[in-house]
Amino acid sequence: MTVNELIKKVFFIEILQGLALTLKHLFKPAVTIQYPAERKEPFAGSRGLHALVRDSGTGREKCVGCGLCAAMCPSQCIHIYTSEGDDHKKVVDRYEIEVLRCVYCAFCVEACPYGAIVLTDHFEYSGYSREEFYYTKERLLENWDKYMAGNKGKEYLERFWRPRAVDFATPAPAKKEERAKQ
């Protein structure tokens, strides 16, 4: 053991270095958020509670009851019951999502050919019974009014209802200069 090492050992140099680091952090602003009091806004497109899109024209759901979302759902938690309406049109009688079984993969959004279902960014929901998590068509439409009000819903579908033709487009020439500036 060299003298240097001995000094380091006797005076706890490496421990002091660590303590100096933690001491420095003591005077820095905290990085944590005091959750119930302070809240962090979820980012756009966060995958939370579902909502059924309300057609602004008719005021009813956009869903036509094709059942693709139910077929795609990996946890099979979407239940759709339809019947024949007056003019032989398909009517969605019940549209129910068992939210407790959902894994929030957003495959239902991807599967829907009509843009009739979205995942909102609302994630803080709780309840005392299972029934509260059994979302019916009416409650899902309410979710749309509550969490996707205004332009938000339209923007959501524009950005996150995928895939789009541009995703398959042929490659454009690489924009090297864009990256080079970094």
Binding site: E14, T22, S46, C66, A71, C73, A106, P163, P171
Partner: protein, 401 residues
């Protein structure tokens, strides 16, 4: 190491004590149960029992089509869900023989390496906490949070991301995201230095990790170890180098290895991988080309939404693909492995040509590593078990599946 007192005094009988550790034990990183036969403080025999987190992922997969299996893979190793998704997609793409666009490969490499950093941060945090260093735990979570935020911006979820798709990705990255990620890689090496200041030379850390849980290179190979656990013993084996996926052949990086195969070396390998991953991400961001993100494989990928809305053919195709799964899967068997943060994750498919796999088997690194735990622990002290479990980096979700 028999208690010398009782050895001298034949009137006091001694026998081995059987101790049950787990399944509910914070330091077993999940629900691992170990039955320990102890002689004083020394472990005579260690028997791991797994299966407390068994959810039947492999069986579930037989009843889902190839697209629907993806969220199941999130829940294997829930700490690095992104890597599992990638591993699954790479395997299925090999099965279907899909050629990926270049941009997709770059983005996949970036998110794969981010996932490696997330995993190693969580590993370092909990490993250090197990051994007694609380501060590292908090500092690691600070950086992990930043990456999880990036994940959330990218795909809407923090942990169970389900981001890649067969033949592509859920959505493209935007320039701002790449810019922010680049800024993160600027400051991250400094953070790693901070962790190292805290524990690298700390005498308690060294005493707890150096020369403990030693496994030689040959034995490590024989036990089937992989990933940093294998590289800690000095075997430069990395699936990213030996097979081709992502753009690992287009960026400069090295395989990090240790020498002694003890807990400290395994720790060093993972710490070095922080640097390698950061450098891979930076190079990828610098080189990433413009272009499509979905492969041109209409039989296996969902058609574009704009086409579905306007074109009958695409709409029919959309319906068939979702209700029945990809109908033209080739028949046969295939094993494909990728390097996830914990080691080698392999998917084995038996395909009968329908939209669902006839059998899907997952070769998970955690399961293999747990099997080597008795070899690492026996003959050492009880306290070293915790350090050993930490050093092989297991997650029981992946082990039990």
């Amino acid at each position: 190491m028999n208690n010398s007192n009782s050895d001298n005094n034949p009137a006091i009988a001694t026998k081995e004590l059987t101790l049950n550790m787990g399944p509910q034990h914070p330091a077993t990183h999940g629900v691992l149960r170990l039955v320990l036969d102890l002689n004083g403080e020394t472990i005579v025999k260690c028997t791991p029992y797994v299966g407390y987190l068994h959810r039947g992922v492999e069986k579930l997969a037989e009843n889902r089509n190839y697209m629907q299996i993806l969220p199941l893979t999130d829940r294997l190793d829930y700490i690095s869900a992104m890597s599992n998704n990638l591993g699954y997609c790479v395997a299925v793409e090999k099965l279907f023989d899909i050629e990926l666009p270049e941009r997709t490969e770059y983005i996949r490499t970036i998110v794969g390496e981010l996932s490696r950093i997330v995993n190693h941060l969580l590993w370092l945090a909990t490993h250090a906490l197990d051994i007694g260093a609380m501060t590292v735990f908090l500092y690691c979570f600070r950086e992990r949070e930043k990456i999880l935020d990036l994940f959330e911006r990218l795909c809407g979820a923090r942990l169970t991301v389900s981001y890649p798709r067969i033949g592509g990705l859920k959505n493209d990255v935007d320039a701002q995201w790449l810019e922010d990620l680049y800024a993160f890689t600027d400051e991250f090496p400094m953070r790693v230095e901070q962790y190292e200041t805290l524990i690298n030379k700390n005498r308690i850390w060294l005493r707890r990790t150096k020369g403990i849980g030693v496994i030689s290179a040959e034995e490590a190979i024989n036990w089937g170890l992989s990933g940093p656990t294998l590289r800690g013993s000095g075997v430069p084996y990395d699936v990213r180098k030996v097979t081709s996926y992502g753009v690992y052949d287009k960026v400069k990086w090295e395989v990090c290895t240790g020498k002694n195969g003890d807990i400290y070396d395994r720790y060093r390998v993972r710490m070095d991988e922080f640097g390698q991953s950061t450098s891979i991400i930076r190079q990828c961001i610098e080189q990433i080309p413009q272009g499509p993100i979905m492969a041109d494989a209409p039989k296996f990928t969902l058609p574009a939404k704009d086409k579905v809305l306007t074109d009958m053919e695409h709409l029919i195709h959309h319906f068939v693909l979702i209700t029945k799964g990809p109908q033209t899967a080739p028949e046969g068997e295939l094993y494909v492995s990728t390097e996830v943060p914990k080691g080698e994750l392999g998917f084995f498919f038996v395909s009968d040509g329908t939209g669902k796999p006839y059998r899907m088997r997952v070769r998970s690194p955690s399961f293999v590593h747990v099997s080597a735990l008795p070899r690492l622990c026996e003959g050492e002290f009880v306290a070293d078990i915790i350090a050993n479990i930490g050093s092989i980096d297991i997650v029981l979700g992946e082990c039990d599946r």
